[in-house]
């Protein structure tokens, strides 16, 4: 018996883990005992002999699928797009807990209260360890999880756990890599289709890159930043800072210190706006306290419409030039990723 199976886990380890390309989305974690997410790391617990290999099929960094499951190459850089607008929650408490305009929290609280979803898989602060996935059912729990983590935090492991426990009608919030993993999950054999059916709402977050948590933690320790970190932020350009809020208030660090900690796997990611979601949410350029929102599916459009109609969200058009900037940034990310992939394959030769 070859351990690990060279066609299964062995391939994932060789292609992704050993190359340092894992982005800690957590999609492979919780399907089996062989992968585990803890304190910002996805680790191989044991070697697996199994001949089928969902881990490889679901991994957004593995070249298992010849093309993206969605396959939607779009020239605009931001993917399939029904509506695009600016929005913020009308609930001040929600806005206060949130990173920007509280749209994600508002969408989730609404979907939960109107029983469109039964639970949501989010990312909590994970204190005393790194942020991690968590299944929540109530408004207060949603607000607990509000705020950007700048890491994928393995939160899809919480989705796998929830599905194992028999939960369905789940909402999932995640980074572009995690939305891609959900798309791959649908094609995963033998049970990907059933698992996908447990997910009713996919809320994607804009992401330029995510930070390798253990390295960030070590950096913050060196800088004598007390735990727990309550909030972190990268204000839009040209500020070039990384801000961290603890009990003692905000502290700023040069973004140039943080950039080397970007996960290696992020350099190959072509997707900035979570193109494989129902609805994507990010920061709004030039309007503090607001979000940019893109709907991509009927599920996403209808949900957004209902929140607007029922007064949960106030909206506005994107300021002039903002959409072009967004598209340009997204295209730049895609171009950088393609160049990185070319560089990488040349290196391998």
């Amino acid at each position: 018996m070859d351990l690990p199976n060279p066609e299964g886990q062995g391939r994932l380890i060789a292609q992704v883990i050993d190359k340092g390309l894992c982005v800690r989305c957590g999609a492979c974690v919780g399907l089996c005992p062989y992968f585990n997410y803890f304190d910002g790391k996805v680790v191989v617990m044991d070697l697996c002999p199994a001949g089928s290999f969902r881990c490889l099929q679901v991994c957004p960094r593995a070249g298992y699928h010849e093309t993206s499951p969605i396959g939607g190459e779009t020239s605009n850089g931001i993917g399939v797009c029904s509506e695009i607008l600016m929005a913020r929650s009308t609930d001040e408490a929600v806005r206060k807990s949130s990173q920007y305009g509280g749209v994600v929290s508002a969408l989730l609280i609404y979907a939960l209260e109107k029983e469109m979803i039964s639970s949501a898989v989010l990312t909590d602060a994970g204190d005393p360890f790194a942020p991690k996935g968590r299944m929540v059912n109530r408004r207060s729990e949603v607000l607990d999880c509000a705020g950007s983590r700048y890491s994928a935090s393995g939160s899809l492991s919480a989705l796998n756990r929830a599905i194992k426990k028999g939960h369905s009608r789940l909402g999932v919030v995640g980074l572009p890599c995690q939305m891609a993993a959900l798309a791959r999950m649908r094609l995963m054999q033998p049970d990907g289709k059933e698992r996908s059916q447990a997910v009713s709402l996919k809320i994607g977050l804009f992401c330029t890159w995510a930070i390798d948590y253990p390295r960030l933690k070590a950096y913050l320790d060196r800088q004598k930043v007390e735990s727990p970190v309550l909030k972190s932020d990268i204000p839009p350009p040209p500020s070039e800072i990384f801000r961290v809020k603890t009990q003692g208030g905000w502290r700023d660090f040069p973004l140039s210190d943080i950039r080397p900690m970007v996960q290696k796997g992020c350099s190959l990611c072509e997707d900035m706006t979570a193109e494989e979601s129902d609805i994507s949410v990010g920061t709004a350029e030039g309007r503090e306290g607001w979000n940019t929102v893109i709907t991509r599916t009927d599920t996403g459009s209808q949900l957004l419409k209902r929140l607007i109609v029922e007064g949960w969200l106030e909206t506005d058009d994107l300021p002039g030039g903002s959409l072009d900037h967004l598209k340009e940034a997204a295209r730049n990310k895609r171009d950088r990723a393609r160049q990185a992939e070319i560089d990488r394959s040349t290196e391998n030769e």
């Binding site: 399907l31 304190d39 680790v43 002999p49 290999f53 969902r54």
Partner: protein, 634 residues
Amino acid sequence: MNSISEKTGGRELLLQGNEAIARGALEGGVKFCAGYPGNPSSEIIETLIQASHDLPLYVEWSVNEKVALEAAAAASFAGCRALASMKQNGVNVVSDFLTNLALSGTKGGLVLVTCDDPGGISSTNEEDARLFARLAQIPLLEPATPQEALEMTRWAFELSEIIANIVLLRSVSRLSHTRSNVRTGEIPENETKPVFDTSTPFHTFPVVVKDRARYDKLKRAVKLYESSLFNCYQGPDRPEVLIISSGCAWNYAAEAVEILGLGERAGVLKLGTTWPLPKSVLEKHLGSCDRILFVEEIDSFLEDNVKSLGADLNKDIGPKEYMGRASGHIPLCGELSPSVILHILGKLFNISWKDIGYQSKIQELTKDILPPREFGFCPGCPHRGSYYAIKTALTWDERNGFVSGDIGCYSLGLFPTGFSQVKSVHAMGSGLGIASGYGKLDTFGFDQPVITVVGDSTFFHAGLTGLINATFNQSDILLLILDNSATAMTGFQPHPGSGATAMGEPTVPVDIEGICRALGAHVEVGDPYDMENTAQTIYRLMQQTGPRVLVMRRKCALVQGRQGGFPYRMRVNPDLCVGEACGCGRYCTRVFRCPGLVWDKGAGKAKIDEVICVGCGICADICPQEAIEREKNP
């Protein structure tokens, strides 16, 4: 009353070698007995504990071997006969005291029993403790049979008193654990009142004077040896080959000579008093034959010493051919057996001989029945949970950390049953000392985290000093005390933390957490059965610095079994078990490996072996499909 403590003698009892040693001690008038458990020696003290219920006798399990001999020496200094018993590794622990005691001398007969373990069957080495007799220059006796074990032990006390020095008696595993009929002698009335004569202190000064006295004592011993019946010869007057043998190995030599029909051609000289050598006995026999074969367990102790004597006698006895370990006739390593000796003698005498030994018989009988078995923790063993948690934490940590191991059941952490987490095992308490060293290597860039594990009994035995060293030298040490509330590996002997003495007296258990806190360590307590939370605790502690102690507390499963057992009846739900498929890959039987879980090849599912499973329930927490179910016992 236990038959071992029957005062009248003349009875035939079926006794194990170690029981015979204990009976010999009783017949020798022993009053004070101390030891530290360790296979193959443990039954000596166990037997004496039984006898202590009937006889005026004090018996203790000491905290370690050195203290055992020191305590026994006190009894000797006060005029009582005393015994200390241990395995070969224990004599190393004793050695510093022993080499000094040998200079100060003793008063009441004092006997140190070592049970050596040829082949390291249940030991970390196959050390020959006889070398300590020469190192300390004290008399050495080697019984060959249980009968002789009794008689020699009895006489050892007398010898010790005659020469006023400690006597070493050496057994080996096969003698200690064999059973045979033994004829007993009388147990004397023992009304000795211990008194320390303050006009006769015991110390080593002046050293040279004491040293000279020690050699004089040895000379007196040799004189007694030369007429001792423990040395005997069987064979022709002028044998073609003279076999010189001692202890248990003599049985193999005698048996081989008999099987090969060499009674008229080979002679066997059995030596029972092996240090110093009985010179005149050897002189006589060496003169009778030019080819000498040494048959003895472990080291070339007799071989080297007889050769040395042979060189001294060269003028009178002429040159000899010496055959043994140095010449390659006897294997350098491993335990001897009749088969090994048959093989050697067969070659020497050119006799074609077919191996009819046990080894080949066993192989013949079991070749299709018994699969090879690896070391394994018992079902329900808390160490399995501890190592699972350790493995999880080390894997999470990703800094290539490892475990510095120690001596106990948990040494099996070297093997798959402990997920092969342990990367070094040496002597009692060494795991801590070694870890305290790793903890200082960071100065030079060492960045691998090290976890050291030690059992509760081993911690008391020799672990404390390592921890003190770590706290004193501010070494980053993470110590996991695997407290299963027993000296489990050697048979559940009580220890300072268990709340009762060897003789059953209740005591206040030594507070492990309290000790560690007093030494300045950060202390937490974890449950080996709660693997997930314990892994998180270990991980968290790994991220901290300074001396940290996590006491992993769960009773040994065998103790728990005797005290009412476990709460669960386990079953595998075959509808949920996915066996070899993606999502499991036979995780429970392939990785977790509790013997209570078995793989049903036909069904392609795991199942519980109900005979073996004790119902601890922790496997339910590792099954990825939640197919292993706990049912509360009614």
